[in-house]
């Protein structure tokens, strides 16, 4: 046995090197995967922020008839405590998913509320975007606009 190991020191050395290399590889692959995940999350944050801002800008154009600007095919609409809630699922590029076969990456929820005040109505919008996997993406934007009675869009 002793004789054998003396004969193949190169092989033993190589096996040790490969063992070390394998351990380093595992660590590196994990680092690569993490880097990719962070990059994807950053991209999703960019698209999600643009998407949420865009929705709020569209809503600002006419908060009284927000549904006309924001309702598209694919939204799930429900009413909870007087607030209108729109929900949709999106893919990696923040495009709305219309087919059931696709797995959603992100969920978008838009809440439209209105409060009657003495001389008008206060309209509010809340946009929330979250991811489907580890809930690391969480974008929340909101805005409000007061519309006096009889004057329409201020």
């Amino acid at each position: 046995m002793k004789k054998n190991s003396k004969k193949n020191p190169a092989l033993v050395e190589l096996i040790l090197v490969i063992l070390f290399f394998s351990l380093s590889s595992v660590i590196l692959v994990q680092v690569f995967a993490k880097a990719k995940r962070i990059s994807d999350l950053s991209h999703a944050e960019t698209l999600g922020t643009i998407y949420a801002q865009s929705m709020i800008e569209s809503w600002k154009a006419d908060p009284k008839n927000a549904q006309d600007n924001l309702f598209y095919e694919g939204w799930t609409v429900k009413e909870v405590n007087g607030a209108l809630i729109l929900e949709s699922a999106c893919d990696k590029e923040m495009n709305m998913i219309l087919e059931d076969s696709k797995i959603p990456e992100y969920y978008v929820q838009v809440k439209l509320e209105q409060k009657k005040l003495d001389a008008g109505i206060f309209y509010e919008i809340y946009v929330d975007i979250s991811d489907n996997l580890d809930q690391k993406l969480n974008i929340s934007f909101s805005n409000g606009q007061y519309v006096p009675d009889g004057r329409g869009n201020p």
Binding site: V29, S39, H43, L47, I50, E57
Partner: protein, 155 residues
Amino acid sequence: MKERNSVNGLLIFLVYGTFALFSLFLVVIGSRVYHAVVTSGNENTALRSSFVYVSNKIRMGTGNADSVYLEERSGLPVLVLKDEQEYETLIYFYEGTLREYFVLSNEEFNPKAGEKIVDAESFSIEEIQPGLLNLTMTDESGSYNMNIYYQHTKR
């Protein structure tokens, strides 16, 4: 004995080969991830820069009614942001770049003279309803939209 030595030699060669193969594999994976991360970062920057730049420019011009409007100049669709004085800022897409051109109102429009803001495959601005502008930017990974509300758009 000679046969055993050749088997050992082959084994060492195989181990070397595996080592080299996995090293190469790791380098390829690493370079791909690096490329994807850098590309994605650049796209994010270009997307944010262009949309934020245009929306901030539009909001800066909200002082006067009709100070922001779209029109065609030298065959190009141009977003015009009029100054309170005699100057105007023109934002347009020309030769693969979003550009800004700050000139006197009566000066001739030269699209090449504009300052480069960000590169893109295409960039368009259209008014989808009164006061609501839609920006569309297309790059290698796809097409992206953003709406900007501006109340005093010229009709």
